[in-house]
Amino acid sequence: MSETASLNMQDIPQGQLPEHIELQRARVFCKADAPVHTEDVEYSGAYAAVGFDNSLQVDDFRRDFRVEIKNLSMDDIEFDMIGIDASLANAFRRILIAEVPTMAIEKVLIVNNTSVMADEILSHRLGLLPIEADPRLFDFLSENDTPNERNTIVFKMEVHCKKRGPRLTVKSDQLKWLPNGSELLMESPNPSTKPRSFTSFSCSQASLPQISGRPIGMKHLDIIITQLGPGQSIELEAHAVKGTGKVHAKWSPVGTTWYRMLPEVKLLKEVRGNDAEKLVKKCPRKVFDVEDVGHAMKKAVVSRPRDCTLCRECISGAGEENIALRRVRDHFIFTVESTGALPAEVLFTEAVKILEEKCERVISELS
């Protein structure tokens, strides 16, 4: 009898969780020493004993999922994703960093380099320069492919510092796009045949309809690559190809991208008078405000919970029991910082598409 009684909680409607368990399910608790209830309860039957269905229906997701854009500029976006699990939010983040392709310089053909910077260091620096070219217009260059106008972008750099002059700072604007491909010729074993260049473009990239409107170039023209002393010079050609951040971080389309769960700050008891003033001062992010409640009485209110960094300053020392710090488990504040190849909002949709493609590939292999 006692066993059924414990499961049969009369005061709780069927299909709902008791309040404290619902809190544990939907929130992460930040205690003074460590966060607790951090793990998501995934198993669909976890709450079967109280008649609560923990499974996920696609229709419910459709109904509850929301996106709110908070900030959108040329290269950055900040938005809230509400009603999604961390596993999916994290999948999007991981794909953004490592699997959305961009173009980056992969091969550098150095004709002459008398600067103090060694060839390999110079090449590495060139590789990291963000290139303003839509990677969706290009193909991956695989090992046996010949570089052509659909998979390679060629840049040329020729700088010379005059003798008896000041030092010269070489910036990224010195890299000039060669829409017709490489101008350097390969050494051919047979002197009678016509020497070939390092790329075989069948037409100028500038004449391709997708590219002609937006010429390809460096995203930033003021990145310092190296410095030349009087009399030194650099002459090289740089070949950019498509790749992903998995292989090398230079192909990552984002400076970084991250999410945090929405902080929730709750006052469990009313904090009045002097304590209220103290609490406002304690918080480095100005989460609390003091409100007049009349009769010369003041009380603390939570006015900017979103700014909370969960530094836990407010729950250390006295007054700890007055405040509950939590995070909302299915509310993600997502930030994407693009390096410039594509706008941040396009990067995100590309990332979601890549996850879809992964699923499709596995489904076709399972069938």
Binding site: E42, Y43, S44, G45, D53, N54, S55, L56, V58, F61, R62, F65, R66, V67, E68, I69, L72, I77, F79, M81, I84, D85, S87, L88, N90, A91, F92, R94, I95, E99, E345, F348, T349, V352, K353, L355, E356, K358, C359, E360, V362, I363, E365, L366, S367
Partner: protein, 104 residues
Amino acid sequence: MEHGSLTDSKNSTFCLMDEDHTLANSVRFLLNKDPRVEFCGYSIPHPSENKVNIRVQTTGDSAKDVLKESFQDLIFLCQHVRSTFEKSVADFKSTQSRQEMNGA
């Protein structure tokens, strides 16, 4: 992909090549949320090998079908995320440009 086929179809281990936590963790989440699944987990046997093993044990249905449906659900979720996101961005852009016009 390899398929650890056993005599009973309701318990299987699947090996996905060239995948990592990105896909495995997402699909594990969906599998765990599926009432037909009794147990589900994944592991990456060695960090330098590009593969993940996904274990699915169901209460009766074929594990392969349940896994396939989970991937299908994941596609639906992604499509919904994408359309919701694109709509929000379009709305945000239009209100932003309207505000700029009013401000100017």
